[in-house]
Symmetry: C2
Subunit: 354 residues, 2 copies
């Protein structure tokens, strides 16, 4: 792995998704849970950029999660930026970029993705490094494994070097037919939200395409409270910052954007169905995690972090149990978690308060 200059892992840990409810909650979202053996998703994200070949990580997270983040760092020195409010990814990365020297290379990674082939990831980083040093905003494009409708796609344009392409277009989540044409054309990759660029290049792009965001981030940092390795940006200034994703605010608009296609066993575990697909199954196609007893059942995902769960004679069911909530739905319909969560929120159900 490259180590001069050190690449700074910039880890976005602000997510509070509920697609993996009831395990993922506002108090303990997905990145602080273990779904694939080897530690929590955040711990595995940190381990992907080890101390011997990367700089000191910078984690941007919700202020309420500071302790949780530190508990996942295994004693490694980590700098924290504690967001006083959630403003999506572009402002989070702005806070990071403004905290680093302009020439610092930032490896921006969501904290809740799986990468099975870390070697492939490291090779892609190495191949992207020169472009990033030159001021390109480099995005890692995931080689599609099927006509997925759940991701945005990046269309490759002219070749910039071996395995490096200009990112010609960012496109929204397609319908199934469009996704198939993308797959057939072969020049589209999934947008995973993993980037490499230098701090100065990002700030320059922001100044051009999202000057208000840059200004608010700057003011918020200027008035920040610092406490050891933690930075608390000033709340009022940050609250005034427009909320936007790095894709919309910067990547789709900036000129020198490159894509490095990479096939690295990536998944964002965007649903319980995705987790069932990802994990090894028993002979009956079941994925059983935790204190689970399954008799005469097949094709199920049953996971508990709370009560013992026993199932018998059921097929293709997803059962997720925590200490205070149990959710059951058919496999293939795990998008309905959203409907359940909305119903419980509308009912002001106590389990939604954690």
């Amino acid at each position: 792995m490259p180590n001069t200059p050190a690449i700074i892992p910039v880890i976005l840990s602000g997510g509070s998704g509920t697609r993996l409810w009831p395990l993922s909650t506002a108090a303990r979202p997905k990145q602080f849970l273990e779904f694939v053996p080897g530690g929590t998703m955040l711990a595995q994200t940190l381990a992907r950029a080890p101390a011997d070949s990367f700089g000191e990580p910078l984690v941007i997270c919700n202020a309420a999660h500071a302790e949780l983040v530190l508990s996942q760092c295994a004693g490694r020195a980590v700098n924290l930026i504690l967001e006083p409010s959630a403003r999506n990814t572009a402002p989070a990365i702005a806070l990071a970029a403004l905290s680093l020297p302009p020439e610092a290379l930032m490896l921006v990674m969501p904290s809740d993705h799986v990468i099975a082939d870390v070697g492939a990831f490291h090779r892609a980083i190495a191949s992207a490094q020169e472009l990033a040093q030159d001021g390109w905003l480099v995005t890692f494009g995931i080689t599609p494994t099927g006509p997925e409708t759940g991701y945005g796609y990046i269309r490759s344009g002219e070749e910039l070097g071996s395995g490096l392409w200009r990112a010609e277009q960012f496109v929204e989540k397609p319908d199934a037919a469009t996704a198939q044409t993308y797959l057939d054309e072969g020049c589209y990759n999934w947008n995973a939200g993993i980037f490499l660029f230098n701090a100065g290049a990002y700030i320059e792009a922001l100044s051009k395409h999202a000057p208000e965001m840059l200004e608010a981030s700057r003011r918020s940092l200027a008035a920040a409270r610092r406490e050891g390795a933690s930075v608390h940006p000033e709340a009022e200034a940050f609250a005034a910052c427009p909320s936007d994703s790095v894709d919309y605010a910067v990547m789709e608009k900036a000129e020198r954007v490159a894509v490095v296609p990479v096939d690295m066993g990536w998944s964002d575990i965007g649903s319980w169905d995705a987790l069932h697909d990802l994990l090894p199954k028993d002979d009956a196609g079941n994925v059983l995690v935790g204190d689970v007893t399954a008799l005469g059942s097949s094709g199920c995902l049953v996971r508990t972090d709370g009560p013992a769960v026993a199932v018998t004679g059921v097929d293709n069911l997803i059962v997720i149990a925590s200490a205070d909530a149990v959710m059951i739905l058919p496999r293939g319909q795990s998008q309905d978690v959203k409907t359940i969560v909305e119903a419980l929120k509308a009912a002001k159900h106590p389990v939604m308060k954690r």
Copy 2:
């Protein structure tokens, strides 16, 4: 209701069934839980024999459940016989009979049955009273509502009076075809294990058909420790008592056994399926008890005494949750609870230790 002489409700609360696991457990079996609105099954059993028309109840239970029993008596004076070990129903009733004057009328009732039409029950008791005073062992036979294979049947013989018949034969749980012939013949009723007889008649029948049992019960009571209204029969003597049901040990063998057919909305809630049948359903045929959210689901029984449960898009499922265990199986297959319980016991699972 008759009140001279006072009929003594003798309530058998020694059961520790697991057919309603995970709610019913060794520490808190079925009779101490509420399945039908109106209190626990034991409380409803006591209420069926109210203080204004019945004598002081005598409850025979596992010594470990004394507190639980008293918590269900709502301040009513109750005598307890605390069994040092479980020896089935015949010895339990022997302990009760030996504690009462020979002429005392005993209304023997399991503590975990539902009787919707208490008026019909009281009328049946009134009509049976004279026979019982005369030394007959009277059993209440439930008018069958279908060809049930889960109960024993009692065949009526000669008529002894209005609505009173000699019990000609006790037959085991039949197969479906046999059950249908019983139904067609019209002279069979379900054996619900509810009896009326005087203490002396029961002791006499025991002395004839189960003398060892009578002797062991007598010795155990003679050496009993008494504490207020509680009797602790001596453990070693009682342990030596043969274990048998009142049906096998006495009813099938005694000569003067009568049956009073009664249609009183009876159920022993012998399974989760039976509970689904019994309780009122929503428009989609669901029975939802406790903190349950059901979306797009039909024909389900979902009950929780522990975590919140949310189901979506599932049909004909039984989901039962307690604080430490969740069980899921298809409706119509609730006999498989037994298989689950056996598997968990074989695995020495901690949830089986409570």
